[in-house]
């Protein structure tokens, strides 16, 4: 359930304070997304989008850390298997 995809904010439209919107880019395709539930959102941030709403920002540091752990993980096992 809950198909949600990470995309990059390329522009923000706060003209309507009750329905803040942003243009979010997904690998080159842009969609208008409601960012009403997020604080402190900036152009260049990555957000997780579900049915046209941003659920949360992607914590880029955390993502990089997870990937780093994976990269460093188990090289010995790989050589043995």
């Amino acid at each position: 359930m809950c198909l949600a995809v990470p995309g990059k904010i390329v522009s923000i439209d706060e003209s309507n304070p009750d329905l803040k919107m942003a243009k979010v880019n997904f690998g080159g395709v842009s969609k208008d997304v409601c960012i009403q539930w997020l604080d402190d959102v900036n152009i260049g941030d990555y957000v997780l989008v579900h049915v046209g709403f941003a659920l949360n920002k992607v914590d880029e540091k955390d993502a990089e850390e997870t990937l780093r752990i994976l990269r460093e993980m188990g090289d010995i096992e790989e050589e043995n298997s």
Binding site: D18, G27, C34, G52, L55, E77
Partner: protein, 373 residues
């Protein structure tokens, strides 16, 4: 695509696979809650990466599959009305009711429109003031805030011809219901990552403690799922029963508070019938009385709908993880994606459809062949 491709990396998958194999010493039954996770497990043949000891049970995290038959029949009754434009996510259009599905209503001339976002449905209402626009508000906690927002928006803009047919279900009560069932053999859970993005994971601590099961909040890409399984297995092997967060790049313990406030504003908890499982107390959302002007069930008075479930369909047992789809006598015969008897065969992430589509039919079981080679 950033933050997707990196979590679909083959090398990382093999590393995680090796690590899981090195840790496991006995058989374990792990359930992934979310249909999206089931979809991913089958799409990437994740079971090829797992040792024989690990049995993945596919949970009822498919809001489409668990939407009660009566509600689909109500949706169809409303959609057949001349004055209604019935809007829905694509997922619900092919789910069979007692006799028809929404697509066949469309075939007979009903005005049924597919939308990507509930805000699109509100826009349709604004552009068609002479019609009544009803939106089929299905989903778990992930989708509920968006559906709530559509109601708030309609109210704010003074749109009077918009309403929602509400079928929201909640995950933690479902987990409790599964764990407290006498048929339960689930030993660990991969919790639904996107549900937790909205709700956080505070609700899971008491469940983990009460039933002594590890619960790992897990994402959807193959690397997420393998990592989630690894964390769960490590806990099981060391006798732990804690809540962990694998999907920390988007999930925080508190979740999205603004979205949660919206849910409290618009919805209240209610008992809900889960198709194939039965009634689970306080497991759903319904609109609060203040928003009854937006409640399609009240507006269109669709009571007294008779429903008949197919006697062959064992959706309930599949959704509870008691049986696998291939153990159903109707699987691939009377029940196929073209002619589904129950919702898990229709929804693309329903366990039965996913099994069928990704090839766990009798004639080809590639994963087990690959495991043996």
């Amino acid at each position: 695509m950033k933050y997707l491709d990196e979590f679909r990396d083959g090398k990382a998958a093999r590393k995680l696979s090796a690590e899981i194999k090195s840790v496991v010493t006995k058989p374990w039954q792990i359930m992934e809650i979310c249909g999206g996770q089931t979809h991913s497990i089958l799409k990437y043949s994740i079971e090829e990466f797992l040792p024989e000891e690990i049995n993945l049970i596919h949970g009822p995290g498919c809001p489409v599959c668990v939407t009660p038959l009566e509600l689909i029949d109500k949706a169809i009754a409303i959609a057949q009305r001349e004055d209604v434009i019935f809007t829905s996510f694509g997922d619900m259009l092919r789910v069979p009711g007692s006799k028809h599905d929404l697509l066949s209503v469309k075939a007979k001339g009903g005005n049924v429109k597919m939308v990507y976002s509930p805000l699109d449905a509100v826009k349709i209402a604004e552009n068609n003031p002479e019609k009544n626009i009803v939106f089929f508000a299905v989903g778990f906690e992930t989708t509920a805030p968006a559906n709530a927002m559509s109601v708030i928006e309609a109210k704010r803009r003074g749109i009077k011809n918009y309403s929602i047919l509400c079928s929201h279900v909640l995950v933690p009560p479902a987990i409790e219901a599964l764990l407290s069932s006498k048929n339960n053999n689930i030993q660990g859970f991969l919790a639904a990552g996107h549900v937790c993005t909205v709700m956080g994971y505070n609700e899971y601590f008491s469940i983990a403690e009460k039933y002594n099961v590890p619960i790992v909040v897990t994402g959807f890409e193959p690397i997420d799922i393998l990592q989630g399984i690894l964390l769960t297995v490590k806990q099981l092997e060391s006798g732990k029963a804690e809540v962990q967060n694998q999907y920390s790049r988007v999930v925080t313990k508190e979740g999205n508070v603004a979205a949660q406030k919206l849910l409290e504003e618009v919805f209240e908890r209610t008992d809900r019938k889960w198709r194939g499982i039965g009634n689970i107390p306080a497991s759903g959302f319904k609109l609060k009385d203040e928003y009854s002007d937006y409640d399609a069930e009240k507006i269109f008075k669709v009571e007294n709908i008779e429903t008949e479930e197919s006697p062959l369909c064992i959706a309930g047992e599949v959704l509870q993880g008691i049986k696998k789809p291939i153990e159903c006598s109707a699987f691939g015969k009377e029940c196929t994606p073209e002619r589904p008897l129950g919702a898990p065969m229709v929804s693309t992430e329903g366990a039965c459809a996913a099994y069928f589509h990704y090839g766990k039919k009798e004639r080809n079981v590639i994963a087990s062949e690959a495991k043996q080679s």
